[in-house]
């Protein structure tokens, strides 16, 4: 599983005047915050770049940042059709963990987790990475066995994981209903203490600001409408702001990957599905960790602002509408009250949906394509936020070197042809 060494980028901002710190905050307070600079330039596209990243979500922005900071490619652009982070990055439930079953998964998610651990300092942007732990609950004999399998694999992969008894769970999460007579009693759980949450919007902003600082152009409100090719080579892209020449294009557009692939005459093994989430009204802290339950089917955490953040599984049909059907949140809340009766007296504040790109084996695609210079990073489905730094890091490497490193290699499109899948469905029940 040994992968490429962790190269965190450059650490901090190049432009000293823009650096954030307690001191800069105090200085600015004196002048009523009139002196802050733009976090990133509102760039207009140049006619040509060395590489273009399509998609200004976390993964795309991270790719740009690592292209610039690790591979020294600074004549690059990120093209975003709407506003930065407005895709799934801006609407996910922010769960971060690396306790996956298969070696290939452990390798990339752990790579990401290690990057998360220094990311705020790297980017000079507090992305509020909160290592409050992620606790997955088992509710049956069968799930206990699955859990044992998982924990053994995780631990041998050198990743932290511990098993908790129902008693320990009750102490750790007093609001959970651990009554053994309920329909799906809490029979145990496994905790990754290094897992947790991060402030999702800040991740996009932090990467954008750091990439911009290194010279990358961040171009918003610019939709890619066609890919230009000459023979089997990519030569540029067409956008709503004109044509841009480039010989390397990285597509990181999550739910829209099939649409982009279509532009290249390709087809991907993806379905774009609504994934819904909701928050309650904010309350004082009652939950200090992240809880995931497959059998009762929901997961929950409490944001720093106080809302309970809840989610469950994807809707059953394909959609690009960023909204789902009511039964999903309905069942999610039934499950939530079943497991956390205290929620009964709370109120749902806001509900939303995102469009996730799900793969047949519930694992992502990080791959070259039949078109030279065209790369795809997609298929993260319901659980790619946690991978953001790792994904950007290895994708930048793939783009810069035109070959996958050992972490990315198993994720090539080829696997669907050969059958070497990385079936993480077990992890994807309510995987986030």
């Amino acid at each position: 599983m040994a992968g490429p060494v962790l190269d965190r980028g450059i650490g901090g901002l190049r432009d000293k005047a823009k650096r954030y710190s307690v001191f800069s905050l105090a200085r600015q307070a004196a002048s009523y915050h009139t002196g802050w600079q733009q976090a990133w330039r509102h760039a207009e596209p140049k006619s040509e770049y060395d590489a273009v990243i399509i998609g200004g979500g976390g993964h795309g922005l991270a790719t740009a940042y690592y292209l610039a900071s690790v591979h020294g490619m600074t004549n690059i652009a990120v093209i975003e059709k709407g506003w930065l982070g407005g895709g799934n990055t801006g609407r996910n439930t922010t769960i971060i963990r690396s306790n996956y079953l298969w070696d290939e998964s452990a390798s990339i998610y752990e790579h990401a987790l290690k990057l998360w651990e220094g990311l705020a300092q790297d980017l000079n942007f507090n992305i509020m990475f909160s290592q409050r732990g992620v606790l997955t609950i088992a509710h049956s004999e069968h799930e206990l066995k699955e859990m044992s399998r998982r924990v053994h694999a995780i631990r041998l992969n050198g990743i932290d994981s511990e098993i908790l008894s129902p008693q320990e769970i009750k102490t750790f999460v007093p609001i959970m209903n651990t009554d053994q007579s309920i329909r799906y009693p809490v029979m145990g759980g496994f905790l990754q203490k290094r897992g947790g949450t991060a402030r999702h919007d800040a991740v996009a902003w932090g990467y954008a600001r750091a990439a911009d600082d290194l010279g990358a152009d961040i171009i918003q409100n610019c939709e890619v409408t066609a890919l230009r090719r000459s023979g089997r080579r990519i030569t540029g892209i067409e956008t709503t702001k004109g044509v841009i020449k480039t010989s390397k294009v990285g597509c990181v557009v999550a739910g829209h990957s099939s649409v982009l692939a279509e532009m290249a005459g390709m087809h991907l093994p993806l379905a774009s599905r609504p994934l819904q989430a909701l928050v309650s009204e904010p309350i004082k802290p009652i939950l200090d960790t992240v809880i995931m339950s497959n059998a009762v089917h929901m997961y929950i955490s409490q944001s720093d602002k106080g809302e309970m953040v809840l989610g469950a599984g994807v809707d059953k049909y394909n959609s690009y509408a960023q909204r789902g059907s009511f039964p999903v949140p309905e069942h999610m809340l039934e499950a939530a009250v079943e497991l956390f009766p205290v929620l009964s007296r709370l109120r749902m504040l806001r509900h939303w949906g995102g469009i996730v790109d799900t793969c047949p084996d519930a694992s992502p695609i990080i791959s070259k394509t039949d078109v030279d210079g065209l790369y795809f990073n997609c298929g993260w489905g319901t659980g790619g936020f946690k991978a953001t730094p790792g994904s950007g890091h290895v994708f930048a490497d793939l783009i810069a070197n035109d070959r996958p490193n050992s972490i990315a290699e198993p994720y090539a499109l080829k696997r669907f042809e050969t059958g070497f899948l990385i079936d993480e469905h077990g992890a994807a029940g309510v995987a986030h």
Partner: protein, 121 residues
């Protein structure tokens, strides 16, 4: 929540149905020659259009019958519901059917018996 028209039972809530994804995927016969890449077209590659989508649904909590639906994946408009084994009639859905890349795949071609096999198909 969508409302679908089961061709047999009538209008019902989406909750009564299960969705089977892309419609009109013909299964290649194992007896036919097909390389792994083309076989993967059948097994894994899925149409995932932003627009008119031809898909299969099953009235799971009702008559358990499968049928086809042409649905817009952005507006969620149900353009047409039509029987299993038949082709759509509306213009938009017909176009989606005909223009689908799948019509040209080797996998689809391999769904018909190559020569008369001994055991039927």
């Amino acid at each position: 929540m969508l409302q679908l028209n089961c061709p047999f039972c009538g209008l019902r809530d989406e909750a009564e149905f299960s969705c089977g994804g892309e419609a009109h995927i013909a299964r290649p016969l194992a007896g036919n020659q097909l390389n792994d890449k083309d076989f993967a077209d059948y097994l894994f590659l899925r149409d995932n259009p932003k627009g008119v989508f031809l898909e299969r649904w099953r009235h799971a909590a009702g008559c358990r019958r499968w049928f086809n639906v042409a649905r817009h994946t952005v507006s969620h408009e149900i353009i047409e519901t039509y029987a299993m084994g038949s082709l759509p009639k509306s213009k938009a859905a017909r176009q989606a059917y005909q223009e689908s890349w799948r019509r040209k795949t080797a996998a689809e071609a391999a769904s018909k018996p190559a020569k008369k096999g001994k055991e039927g198909r």
